[in-house]
Symmetry: C2
Subunit: 331 residues, 2 copies
Amino acid sequence: MNINDIAALAGVSKATVSRVLAESPNVRDSTRVRIQKIIRDNNFEPNFLARSLSRRKTFSVGVIVEEMSNPFFGSILSMIENVLNDKHYTMSLSSSNWVKEKELDAVRNMIRNSVDGMIVSPIALKSETISILGKSSMPVLLLNNYTDNPAFSCVTSDNHQGGSLVADHLLSLPPSEREQIIAVTGFKHQTLDERMDGFSHHIKPEVYEEINTYEDGLNLVPTLLTRNRINEIKTCLFITNDNVAMGVQEGLLRHEVNIPGDVRMIGYDNIDFSGRCRVPLTTIEQSPGEMGRIAAMEILDMIENPEKELRKFRLPTRLIIRESSPAISGE
Amino acid sequence: MNINDIAALAGVSKATVSRVLAESPNVRDSTRVRIQKIIRDNNFEPNFLARSLSRRKTFSVGVIVEEMSNPFFGSILSMIENVLNDKHYTMSLSSSNWVKEKELDAVRNMIRNSVDGMIVSPIALKSETISILGKSSMPVLLLNNYTDNPAFSCVTSDNHQGGSLVADHLLSLPPSEREQIIAVTGFKHQTLDERMDGFSHHIKPEVYEEINTYEDGLNLVPTLLTRNRINEIKTCLFITNDNVAMGVQEGLLRHEVNIPGDVRMIGYDNIDFSGRCRVPLTTIEQSPGEMGRIAAMEILDMIENPEKELRKFRLPTRLIIRESSPAISGE
DNA sequence: TTGAAAGCGATACCAT
DNA sequence: ATGGTATCGCTTTCAA
């Protein structure tokens, strides 16, 4: 069943049916109604491939994230999808799973599928992906990454500020509460670098890197005990990811380290469970939903106003104080 | 830049270029190599809209779930996407957010976009969505819902078995450990009905319904205390959803109810944090990743073998015993 | 091994 | 207000 069949049934040309489909006013009311009835009766749905090919517009937006089972991205994606759907756009979703070849394939695929624009959370900024996207004439918005490159709009959380909020919090404590400061972070990624950067501005912590998962966090604890003697020296732990922080907390509790008595902990992300774990976590809140909303609105704006100048958004973060590191006014 | 341009540059017809694109063997090696070089040099990517229109095949699968920020669906979606990508298919994703009109719109949209098949986790089985899908000739796989309707393949978790595993666990306890049994469940949905069904087969619990969120769980506790006197009568609580169970647990702990001393708790889902909360939760494990994997494999199989008969998968569940309701051999 | 030409299912311009 | 037709970019027969 296609537009020709409908035209034949209605005894008109397919041009007229097309006009009805496009809700053009240039159709006599009586014919419009007649055609609409035939369309409904036959459950006819226009073929968007053909329409897109002809219109050179797909009403679809490609979205690429590093991983989609991560609740942080889940919130972002959910919001992106809602906004796109409201505006009658479709979301085409891929995840790179942190491998650059997959990311590049995903980009190529979206180009081949003629998406109207892309929202990409790139693994890294120096990459073939970014260079291809930069050359393409397609509207591209970078999520979770900031670049000066004028080819891209950006929506990120202000990670630098987040890190410095943590530093401020620690510096507000009496020195006896922070005899030793240790930072735990994951693999090289702009977001984490910025968090560490903001944090290290006034503080020079010892740093553990490449601690990426809950299990990594759990396994780090023996090292912290023997190498850093955290049960003897009053320690503050800044962990740049709540999920990892959960692992560390579990490890500490298993070794009967008192939180926050012996060790203070500050995480990052404010995932649902950071407020619900054994010792609720002081952490930095981001706004994934808001990031998704702005990203989606912005890419649609870029698609519909190609000449508009690109914008860079940096969303503010907020320190959430909980039991794992309560506030103490520092005399 | 399109296939004609490439053809012109290579001094051949577009038919030949098309053959090269399709990796047809019927092209002289020398011309193939020459054309490939030109394609690469010009960063030419074939237009899949045109290809799909001509081939009547999009290599895309539509996926509709109730909500995507839910980690259960996150795991499913992530696996579906991986499998699809491996086979060079694309995932087009929508969420209904539990509203039927959105679900129906999503289905219509996917039909218009000529997806090769659909995986849908429907809000309900009696609905216009299902009736439209049933009539369509497109391969459709129902996720998280079982139906005898031969038009659909199904991939579900064996919720009935899950519920009865919980019942078996409780019945294995000495009667003094279960003076009172209460079930807490959410809104009407096949998965929850089946869990309750399997559970209630040998047990007739008092049931609280429409308890859907963490907060709902938290707020239920006062009622449990006053109405069911759970701090006086040794109570077993079956909560058909771990997230809600977390809320109930938090509420109980705030009221200084001892778990499992005064009240035993059993949840359902085995989400990441059910093993990490204050009193680790005895629960039923599903395999969302496995569900996603099977669903994706099956829909691809259906797409590529349209005549094959449809299958219904019911994945087994497993009882995970943790502190919130430890095992006791019931004398 | 290659090319010419007829689709695929819409849109949109130009007539009438 | 309506119809005829070229067009979007590619695939696929049929001939040569």
